[in-house]
């Protein structure tokens, strides 16, 4: 059976599943419950500057009957006394020495504050530090959180302060509220950060109440931009993760992936694109710590099926398959095929192709069931029909190469081959 044992800069955990810095990791009570449930590690909710929270704090986006496709929060960093947090961290480390204990930090914006905070945290026996350069609300107005992460030079400066005193591994957590996560990632690594984690939450407005006209979440008749997370942000996180995994500077350090991870499949995808560990929050906010069972079990079973014995067998494996558009093979061509035995005649492929793609599906009227067939000569192989088909494997994409050789855009242009020919 595959081993999920993870080593992140020497920080060991029995599995790659850490809880992200967030409400589930803000006190001993939760963290001990998480460890008892089997979580590999936690990133303790951010300690640092003194704050005051508002009520309410969360809002969500539901989709087609499913709750919390995306979650938005305007909660700040820990609002508990620092000493209480530190003593609880120490106790958790003592009770579960085999689990990773990372502490998230966001000190006031001066060297001394960072130094004092780091020393206090290291005294707890924690295994690593995560620098919160990502929180997009509340702290940014005071020059902290995303205000640091959005400016590579400020980030570099703060990491340098940190590295002057830190004796345990330092992970810098990146904000996605930038054009590219790479500049701040590079600056952090160049300043000495031994690892990166991403993404933090994305600034958002989840919606507007159509009765009160007030956006969510409603705080006494007003709202504010919050941080968006949950399954909805996963594709964005995967893209940003890939850019870090592909950059010559940032790819030198291990990454802890974050962003909408709800299942072992999500985790495997993050790991294939370069994450050594993954951090989970929204899925636990919705379902509790018990989801760890299937995260571990599913990942382990998949690894067995694929012949992987340890996570490093596949971490980063898919990074090199993400290339730039101009390197894609223009001779590769696929066409859709509908399996008539599986077709339930819902017409969804037809109307999608007819109204939104290339009119490549023909309709033979029937009562009450129409027949749908692919016009192969019209099909551009866009996948849309297959994506909207509600039946698994009813529509498959069949390879029909245009030419035998690999032919990319540059070569295509060089040869003067015809454009706009469809």
């Amino acid at each position: 059976m595959a081993s999920l044992q993870t080593d992140f800069l020497g920080i060991r955990s029995p599995n790659p599943f850490w809880l992200a810095s967030a409400p589930p990791t803000d006190k001993q009570f939760n963290v001990l419950r998480a460890f008892e449930a089997g979580w590999g590690g936690v990133v303790w909710k951010t300690l640092g500057s003194q704050i005051k929270n508002v009520s309410s704090r969360y809002s969500a986006v539901d989709y087609h009957g499913s709750r919390v496709m995306g979650l938005n929060n305007i909660e700040l960093i820990s609002d508990r006394p620092l000493d209480l947090n530190l003593s609880e961290i120490k106790e958790c480390v003592r009770l579960f020495p085999d689990r990773a204990m990372i502490v998230s930090l966001m000190a006031d914006n001066d060297r001394q504050s960072w130094h004092e905070l780091i020393k206090k945290v290291e005294d707890t026996g924690a295994h690593g530090l995560e620098l919160n350069f990502g929180c997009p609300h509340g702290m940014t107005e005071r020059g902290m959180g995303a205000a640091v992460g959005q400016d590579p030079e400020i980030a570099r400066l703060v990491v340098e302060w940190v590295m002057e005193v830190a004796t345990i591994p330092v992970i810098t957590k990146l904000t996605p509220n930038v054009h590219s996560v790479v500049p701040t990632g590079r600056a952090s690594v160049e300043a000495g950060s031994q690892a990166l984690s991403l993404i933090n939450t994305i600034q958002s407005v989840t919606g507007v109440d159509l009765d009160t006209f007030i956006p969510n979440p409603n705080v006494g008749g007003k709202s504010t931009f919050g941080g968006y997370c949950g399954p909805a942000v996963k594709p964005i996180a995967l893209k940003m993760l890939t850019t870090i995994a592909q950059d010559p500077v940032t790819s030198r350090v291990p990454v802890s992936g974050i962003g909408g991870i709800s299942t072992w499949k999500d985790a495997a995808e993050f790991m294939l694109l370069g994450s050594t560990t993954v951090q989970v929050c929204t899925a636990v906010m919705k379902h509790g710590f018990r989801i760890i069972d299937d995260l571990c079990d599913g990942l382990s079973n998949w690894m067995d099926e694929k012949g992987f014995t340890k996570t490093t067998d596949f971490i980063g494996r898919s990074v090199q398959t993400l290339t730039s558009w101009e390197d894609l093979d223009l001779n590769y061509h696929i066409v859709a095929r509908i399996n008539p035995d599986k077709c339930i005649h819902c017409g969804l492929c037809y109307i999608a192709c007819e109204d939104a793609s290339h009119q490549s599906i023909s309709l033979t009227p029937g009562h009450p069931y129409n027949e749908y067939t692919i016009k192969e000569e019209e099909c551009v192989g866009c996948n849309l029909c297959k994506l909207v088909c509600p039946v698994d494997s009813c529509i498959t994409m069949v390879e029909k190469r245009v030419g035998p050789d690999y032919l990319n855009w540059k070569e295509f242009q060089r040869r003067g081959l015809p454009l706009n020919d469809h």
Binding site: G65, I344, H345, G347, L348
Partner: protein
């Protein structure tokens, strides 16, 4: 013994409670509404005689546009509320749902339709505007589904409509001829009020063609006439003993339950119901629910040929009705003028008949059922004498119409059960729509 008042009020209420209860909450409706795939050129819509855009109205429930959803339903079927309760959806929309092809439970279309329409009817949403009155007048004979459907289309178009109805209430068989656990007379009254709320429709009750109403007068007073008086005469069995006390017809039996109430409707201890159509099922199940100790459905063919749906048969089975296939009533036996037994010939399936179904052939053997009541539900007959007396062209009593719904008499149109011999409510509604379109074209030219 045949007697009324067999049960307590609480027992009646329990026995006749809604067989398909509505969704209790929006959440519950959304669970099912969200399953709908929103098919294109949807098989459910194509299987609805009125062509309700089912994916559209379900989508509108999902988006919390229930008003739009009700409008979508009513614009195709103004009796969409009643049809949501009485339609044999297992052979129409739900039977065609593509989930069936995945071996999955189909979308509960009727229940969702009820969700949207019930709100509209209860809260009296004015979803349709009547056009400016045109000064045209149309008479409709019969306030059943077909007549009301035609009336609504005509009223919307600004026509003044007068409906002549032989009963004391409108709704036709919806009000008088369906099992009460499917649809209550109270709902039928609400639905009727809702249809009439558009304005421009007057109903004159207890007006029966051939009795106190003459077609010639209607033709003189109105620009057009629509005949939608349905069918109504129970088919006679033409067997000895048919006139004994205790032999009743199912239409009359169900009419009594609905018009006079549960306690006032007498029922026997041991009841035989003859036939296996929807009406036979409605009679048998309601006889049980009124307190009959034993109810037996007797049918001369096999299950393969039965006119009712499997779902209907299941209701009868679950109500504890006995079923005897391949038994044809031969005579009703009695004592002192009252029914005591039903003698049946035992049949076997023979070669196919004109309908394509295997014709039952008498084996010569008989069986005898000890019963004190016989309910005849062997089909309904058109009003042949009435039609002939009014010189309306017909085929064995069924009014003959051309492709525009017109009869042989100028300005007189017909549709629904009196043309087709008796189909579903939803078919009658569509016939009313078609007729109204033809009438509008006729009176505006």
């Amino acid at each position: 013994m045949i007697r009324d008042n067999r049960l307590s009020d609480a027992e009646y209420a329990q026995n006749f409670s809604d067989i398909h209860p509505p969704f209790e909450t929006r959440d519950a409706a959304l669970v099912d509404a969200n399953r709908c795939l929103y098919c294109y050129d949807a098989p459910c819509t194509k299987s609805c005689p009125t062509g309700i855009d089912v994916p559209r109205f379900i989508k509108q429930i999902v988006t919390d546009n229930v008003k739009g959803s009700a409008h979508t339903i009513f614009q195709s079927n103004i009796m969409g509320g009643g049809c949501a309760r009485v339609c044999p959806v297992e052979k129409l929309c739900e039977g065609a749902c593509v989930y069936n092809l995945m071996e999955e439970t189909p979308i509960p279309i009727a229940r969702l339709q009820r969700y949207a329409t019930e709100k509209a009817i209860r809260e009296k949403w004015p979803l349709f505007q009547r056009s400016k009155p045109t000064g045209k007048k149309v008479a409709i004979v019969g306030a059943g589904p077909s007549g009301l459907s035609a009336a609504h289309v005509l009223a919307r178009a600004g026509v003044d409509v007068t409906i002549y109805e032989k009963e004391q209430k409108g709704g036709g068989l919806m009000t008088y001829g369906v099992a009460a656990y499917k649809i209550t007379p109270e709902f039928c009254a609400e639905e009727l009020d809702y249809i009439l709320s558009i304005g421009g429709i007057a109903i004159r009750y207890e007006q029966q063609l051939g009795r106190n109403l003459q077609l010639s007068h209607l033709r003189q007073q109105y620009d057009a006439v629509y005949l939608a008086f349905g069918v109504g005469l129970a088919r006679r069995l033409d067997i000895p003993g048919e006139d004994l006390e205790g032999v009743v017809d199912a239409i009359r039996f169900i009419w009594s339950i609905r018009a006079e109430g549960y306690p006032a409707t007498p029922v026997g201890d041991r009841v035989a119901v003859i036939g296996m159509g929807m009406t036979a099922i409605d009679a048998a199940t309601q006889a049980r629910r009124l307190g009959a100790k034993e109810v037996t459905l007797v049918y001369r063919r096999t299950q393969a040929e039965m006119p009712c749906t499997e779902t209907e048969l299941d209701i009868a089975k679950l109500d504890g009705c006995n079923i005897i296939w391949l038994a044809a009533p031969k005579s009703v036996l009695g004592a002192g003028g009252r029914v005591t037994q039903l003698l049946c010939s035992v049949m076997e399936p023979g070669p196919p008949d004109a309908s394509g179904r295997r014709r039952p052939v008498d084996t010569g053997r008989t069986i005898t059922l000890d019963v004190d009541m016989v309910i005849k539900a062997a089909g309904q007959m058109p009003y042949e004498t009435l039609v002939a007396d009014e010189t309306i062209a017909h085929d064995k009593g069924r009014v003959s119409i051309d492709s525009n719904g017109a009869t042989n008499i100028p300005g007189v149109f017909a549709g629904g059960d009196n043309v087709n011999g008796g189909k579903e409510v939803v078919d009658a509604v569509q016939a009313g729509k078609d007729a109204a379109a033809a009438i509008l074209s006729y009176i505006n030219n």
